[in-house]
Amino acid sequence: MQQIANWALNVATMRGASYADARIVSQRSRALTTKNGRVGSASDSESMGMSVRVLADGAWGFAASEDLSRPGVEASAARAVEIARASAQVKQQDVRLALEKGVTAEWTTPHAIDPFSIPVERNIALLLNVDSELRAVAGVTLAETNLNFNREEQWFVSSEGSDIHQTKYSAGAGYTAYVFAGNELQKRSYPNSYGGQWQNKGYELIEELKLIENARRIAEEAVALHHAEQCPEGVFDIILDSSQLGLQIHESIGHPIELDRVLGMEANFAGTSFLTLDKLRTLRYGSEMVNVVADARQEHGPGLGTFGFDDEGVPGQCTPIITNGLFTGYLSSRETAHTIGESRSGGTLRAEGWNRLPMIRMTNISLLPGEKPLTLEQLIASTDHGILMQTNRSWSIDDKRYNFQFGCEIGWEIKSGKRARMVKNPSYSGITTEFWSSLDAICSRDEWILWGTPNCGKGQPQQVMGTGHGAAPSRFRGIKVGSAYKGS
């Protein structure tokens, strides 16, 4: 593969590129779903190709092709240079790349069981067992389950001497029970909504999730929601479970810290950010308890944002994002690092596949757990009146990442430290910095889970990327609840 990549680098440099890198990527995925006792879909897919990214005349060009023959590869490289020269016609200044030493490296996602080694019939049997448990509960009208496995092998070679071979595995699984009755559709999902839990692991993740063991409880909760009262509207203390908090981190911390957004590069699609450069190390983002990191290292855990090297050859790193409530760091790349006075990239550039341009993506953006021992039950016991909300149902935030609104699948009204009653259709809304400033309790490490978000969209053409978010259940004081159902 190195030889194929070198064909590209040679042509690019011969045609005048001042920098070039080539990525050859081989992707394999398996997706299995069931619906109401039947296999819904069963598919395998493979995709392989190469992209060439070049700087010529101080501007970027990028070309990708499925054709890995020598003429095909050299044509891609020549096309990339031609595109860069066209880019240079509309530029204000030359692209500057932060220095990065070329490295030769191998990296593979630590995994115990290759997910593709597990017989498909065993996977389908597991999903149908879950389905059977869900539909054993009277009232369930629709049961859906899913299993997903991915393997991505990449060879990265650059004109600065990098030669990195990296193989990443990820797995995901989950299910949802729907109950339609009267004029109402309610649902409950496990371990999370919209595809369940995802991590950079092998099949061992599926065994850890205890899918069957939780199915009946989840189905019973979906049925019970039809008898629950509407979540009250007003200002309440709220407790978010760790999966909902993971998405809250993703939307109201992860996206606004992307330096390309901050610099206006995403203004036409994903939007910009309220975190203008003057806010670095000056903005109080949250309460003193809020400590958030962007950590791509394996020691942080097997998140979807864990890797050895990013897609421009920079090692995975840990960047403090919020330190004791103070905003302290952005997600950066070699091109953008200098805008925040950094001499080196934060190592966050990733691409969806061989045919996409790498861009700044969240790694694992995690809220660190509380240092004092605190379980969810203890947190509930210390809450006089509030709403516990679990499992995301809807999410929305403005294009600068200020105003958000989230809905959850299920809520529990807490009175005098106890779960007093189940409530349906809970939602909350607020302004990002006001919300994080209201945080007054975070559960400790035992309750902390590194969640995977497999469907983060960004860029034009849009790319879908997996990101990681560690969180423990936390409490927020004085939050607006229930606007979602207020006026419609």
Binding site: K35, V39, G40, S41, A42, S43, D44, S45, E46, S47, G49, A59, G61, F62, A64, S65, E66, D67, A80, I83, A86, S87, Q89, V90, K91, Q93, V120, I124, T141, L142, F180, E184, L185, L263, G264, M265, E266, A267, N268, G271, L357, M359, S396, I397, D398, D399, K400, Y402, N403, Q405, G407, N425, I431, P461, S483, A484, Y485, K486, G487, S488
Partner: protein
Amino acid sequence: MLTRDQARDIFDRIRKLSSADEVEVLFSGGKFALTRFANNTIHQNVAEENHTVSVRTVFGGRTARASTNRFDDDSLRRVVASSESLAKLQHPDPDLLPMPDSQEAEGTGASLVSTRPSPSRYFEQTAAITPQLRAEGVKKIVDVARRHKLTTAGIVSRAESVEGIFNSRGLSAWHTQTLAEISITMLATDSSGWQKANSPDVANLDPLVLAEAAAKKAIESANPQEIPAGKYTVILEPAAVLDIVGFMFWDYSGMAILDQRSFLTGRIGTQLFGENITIWDDVTHPLQTGSPFDGEGVRRQRLPLVENGVVKRVVYARATAERMKRSEHKDKVGPIAATGHGFALPNEMGEMACNIVFATPQNPQTVAAMIASTERGVLVTRLWYIREVDPFEKILTGMTRDGTFLVENGRVRGGVRNFRFNQSLIHMLSNVEAMSVPQRSCGEESFDMVAPAMKVCDFSFTEATKF
């Protein structure tokens, strides 16, 4: 780009490699290039060529699919083996139908619906757009931004794509298309404006017109004032209309009714929207794009989904139609027949109405006329980050973006801070006071459609943001 003859050759090779009862091969892909600009600079500029072959095999009612983008003998052998081994592990699906032949796919049987030929959607002048031409287009847009002392961001792109299907019962269908697209955001200190357009024929796009319109919005929405959240008369430009209404068309599906996840469950045949709302699914409309056949090769039919506010029917894949005919819902869902809207099999979603065309209203009004007749309201350019709050009442939440204006006494009074809405689509489409002539529209929250601007009363804004 892959040709039909090359695809047929690949299909023939795959057939020889397979021992399945039936074989179906889908082809997709093409050439795509996009120039992206921000801060008045081209900062990303990409080109891609890729084609995928996707093989579905059937053994005694069991089916599965495998895909690859490698067409050499070893890769084709592997993708066939993968599809076959996955298929053999399935339980037989009693609803799986034999693959359609050409006659069935063309809808020449007893059809309840109408067809007409799709216009050609491949234009050489779009396919011929070079990086140089894209850069020249960007330069024109940047020049407009500079003249108005604004900063611009956006894209200029071109695509050349193929979609094809062959099956072992002799069906073959092939579609080629081009698409040129321009999207522009103009940014001022505390405001922004946006425009987007696409067309198979690049001659229909004018970067200067779009850039000037986006710049005007950015300039006129400067110094936005905060007005309180509440119920307002809104004037939604066509992009905002498609952004929000697009969220309901997943529910115009026989499978969604069978699954009891559609908001139309129990509501087909009822007066759900205002009498001025009529909506077609019509891939043959001259302003539509896309292939004229579905994931099984069945020709897409032209259907009335909503007539004068009454939901008339939903769309069907072949198997869904047969299931519906046997279901408890069969007498409450209108006409039941395969309509050519199925996804590639196997899938769990069935089908979707995705060629949406709003009918021209009896007395169409321009946006300017809607503004002139509004005592107090809000003019909305586009919507953003829309998600479903309640699936049966079809309450959606989202934000306004890139050009939100206060209208008072028949005039635009300037920009306002962006709002969050929580709005039932059912109520919204029951409160439409005026519509423009529908036009080809595109946004970021939903698929392209032929949609009008709408003036809607009692639209629910629940919060305002900080800008």
